[in-house]
């Protein structure tokens, strides 16, 4: 039975094939915290295709305008689309050429509206976003989920980071962390994630945003410690086991 809908209609069963049902290439946790001079954010560089580690050089953190830093977990292609939307937003803001610029609060609000509106249309952008920045001395760190749940806090994380990193941050974060202490704290979180999140890889970047601007580290790997006595001579008590 031929359908009478035009080809580009959003109604009917054909439209369902255009809606996101599940993510394909995904990034895992992003962790971020406020420190003395601004925001520090960490994310690894993995892009997983289901259980395969397909891409190992994915930059999941990008600078937005002069004052903000966006980190994303979830579908990488949706993150790229969000960057395109933000490009247009920042361009429009710059073209006014009036000395004003969108700060992190404004960008976070825009992203919240974007995610919520896509959720309303049942075609979500499958990401959890972390938006951090500093403008006129005021630090800001917020997060938005794929259904539009948003809030700001002194430290945030996405995905597994919520389960593994937030408890560490709740214990050890304090106001006015130095840069070195902030990095050390983030590395502690990322190391736990590396041990326990199977989609995490040992190649990460840490990005920093301050009044001066955004800098992102070269990719590097964390030292891991496997010298647990239980891991040495594991078959000692059970010959033939592994």
């Amino acid at each position: 039975m031929a359908s009478k809908q035009p080809e580009n209609s959003l109604l009917g069963p054909e439209a369902d094939s255009q809606r996101t049902l599940y993510p394909n290439v995904t990034g895992t946790s992003v962790v971020a915290l406020k420190y003395k001079d601004g925001i520090l954010m960490a994310a690894d560089m993995g892009g997983s295709y289901g259980s395969t580690l397909r891409y190992k050089n994915v930059e999941r953190m990008k600078a937005i305008g002069k004052h903000s830093l966006l980190g994303a977990s979830g579908e990488i292609s949706d993150f790229q689309e969000i960057l395109r939307y933000l490009d247009d937003l920042i361009l429009y803001d710059n073209m006014w050429d009036d000395g004003n610029s969108l700060g992190p609060k404004e960008v976070h609000n825009y992203l919240t509206r974007l995610m919520y509106n896509r959720r309303n249309k049942f075609n979500p952008l499958w990401n959890s976003l972390v938006l951090g920045g500093i403008k006129n001395g005021e630090k800001y760190l917020g997060t938005v989920s794929m259904i539009g749940v948003n809030f700001e806090d002194d430290h945030v994380a996405t995905g597994f980071g919520n389960h593994l990193a937030r408890p560490i941050l709740r214990q050890e974060w304090h106001e006015n962390l130095s840069f070195e202490d902030g990095v050390r704290l983030l590395e502690k979180c990322m190391r736990v994630l590396l041990y326990r999140d199977r989609s995490a890889i040992n190649k990460l970047q840490i990005a920093k945003i301050t009044e001066e601007g955004m800098t992102i580290s070269q990719p590097y790997s964390l030292k891991t410690y496997w010298e647990f006595s239980a891991f040495e001579n594991p078959t000692q008590g059970a010959v033939g086991s592994w």
Binding site: L21, Y22, T112, F122, M146, I147, G148, F151
Partner: protein, 223 residues
């Protein structure tokens, strides 16, 4: 390959409890500041209370993204009202607007459980309580949210208003003094935090009276 069904829900419950109590010349609106998802706490410092007009405050719990969208919608409508009528919306007027706004999305609801509190045009306290699709009622006190099943019976015990069916019509607002009402609200949340896992961290209390709007905070259990 058989057609894959969607495996995400457009809704989430971010928890929390809200309470409002109306007095002869004041109104107390309170909500905890915990935001959760599943068994996780997302943040301990999130306000569920929104000032909609000079004498009208709303506390909402449920799905945070919907709550935020609803607050923004009402704030925008209030701004238009001010431009058109050159005055603030009264609490009963805002109550009707909230009901209509919620029903408008009857077939894809705002998952938001609201209590509206404020002073009516005569300066008397009023509280309106809602469900997610806009059915509402003017009451002397109410609670909504994850702790409401624990809180409401206690408020009934302390503040029970006479049936609206009785004649002559009796007042629903409590004869309690403002300080006593605030104390009651603090007690109620301390108790709810003991047994409701989604209620805790901090309590935000807003008091509206003839002098304006006052705000205070109280710590709650963090577990």
């Amino acid at each position: 390959m058989p057609k894959q069904q969607a495996n995400w829900s457009p809704y989430d419950n971010n928890g929390g409890s809200c309470v409002a109590v109306a007095g002869a010349d004041y109104c107390v609106i309170a909500a905890d500041t915990r935001m959760s998802t599943g068994y996780n706490i997302l943040t301990r410092d999130y306000s569920k209370i929104c000032k909609l007009a000079d004498k009208c405050v709303m506390a909402s719990s449920g799905f945070q993204a919907d709550v935020k969208a609803l607050q923004k919608h009402l704030a925008a409508r209030h701004l238009i009202y001010q431009h058109q009528h050159n005055k603030q919306m009264s609490c009963p007027a805002m109550a009707q607007l909230l009901s209509n706004t919620l029903y408008y999305k009857r077939f894809f609801p705002y998952y938001s459980f609201n209590v509206l509190g404020g002073l009516d045009n005569e300066g008397k306290g009023c509280v309106f309580t809602y469900d997610a699709v806009g059915s509402y009622e003017k009451v002397g006190y109410s609670s909504q949210g994850s702790g409401s099943t624990l809180i409401m019976p206690f408020l009934d015990n302390q503040l029970k208003s006479p049936s609206p069916l009785l004649l002559p019509v009796q007042d629903a607002v409590t004869p309690l003094a403002e300080a006593e009402a605030v104390d009651l609200v603090k007690t109620v949340f301390a108790s709810a935090s003991e047994r409701d896992i989604y209620t805790g961290d901090k309590l935000e209390i807003v008091v509206i009276n003839a002098d304006g709007i006052g705000r205070e905070y109280m710590d709650l259990r963090k577990d």
